[in-house]
Subunit: 214 residues, 2 copies
Amino acid sequence: MKLHTFFRSSASYRVRIALNLKQLPYEAVAVHLSKNGGEQHSSEFQALNPQELLPVLQDEGEVLTQSLAILEYLEERYPNPALLPDSTAGRARVRALSLMIACEIHPLNNRRVLQYLSEQLHVDAEQKNRWYRHWVGLGLAALEKRLAQDACTGRFCHGDTPGMADCCLVPQIYNAQRFECDLSAFPTVMRIFDECMGLEAFAAAGPARQFDAA
Amino acid sequence: MKLHTFFRSSASYRVRIALNLKQLPYEAVAVHLSKNGGEQHSSEFQALNPQELLPVLQDEGEVLTQSLAILEYLEERYPNPALLPDSTAGRARVRALSLMIACEIHPLNNRRVLQYLSEQLHVDAEQKNRWYRHWVGLGLAALEKRLAQDACTGRFCHGDTPGMADCCLVPQIYNAQRFECDLSAFPTVMRIFDECMGLEAFAAAGPARQFDAA
């Protein structure tokens, strides 16, 4: 298995956690998102993924893109340990929690969007930070409410074993900390983050421990 | 089954298509996104979905949020006709196509983001339209490449029956047309859009045909 990754790409980070949780060994191929004008724009990488986004996972001849689609693929192809619960309602809950991060927070704050704000809209650093923190704050407030009020929340986002939603939560919190967001209003989210970071599968997937970390 | 929906909400539109394709009758409850300061912010709606976003589907005591999680739920609970193909690789492909729209295009262009651009960043109408068209153009260019070059593409995004990716594609094109995006560079995407719109399941889910259409 070959994972095209960048240490700081939070979508790649999600997949690294899932691969570790499932104890699937993989070869990591670094795609540097800023060096050489962004290696994701190279014709070589475009041939793999016309969307020019990380991560890409190659497995058994398949070229897989979009981190959540990759997590679902891994779940179907390598079901143990499971990242989704057994019940249809539980699965819907975990997917919704994952999408609350993957659709509602992360897309607004990734590198290309922040670049557009600076370069095209000439937004200054302070406004850009406020933009970042606005979407993180709004998204995490909703996540906190759901996690705090729901009996299905356990040590992790869903019950007492880590799963798909935790694979999404940890990279988002890592990013929020990098941008110095105030996270004190999200105690349940942070309790789960700490719980995850106590596990080697999560810790080993962290940006600082990647071979391509700057 | 009860769907909390707004005629122009494109995430609601995805779910309306899926419900129609699966021939599942439902009661539609209108949540007006701009009247009364945005009915999604009412305490009544917040109790259903703390994220204050549409759609919400209520089914058999479950309260389901996030359109793609709802589509997966419907697929598991009401498998026929299927919105995902049988093979793991095919399912990964359809999910990736869906997420290319749901994570990479739509979140950047929805109502609350456009509002933030105007109200917080004082971006003018022309810059806002350029922002909108930039993300639509970038996202659809990647989608076009994938659909055009891939043998799995058929009458629809995947093969000759409509599925999850088509449920995402149609509302995105509807929105792009509303914002007068130039779509001439995306012939495969538009061929599939037209193919979908020839089916009553898609046509009946369209904004203009909703009971709450303004």
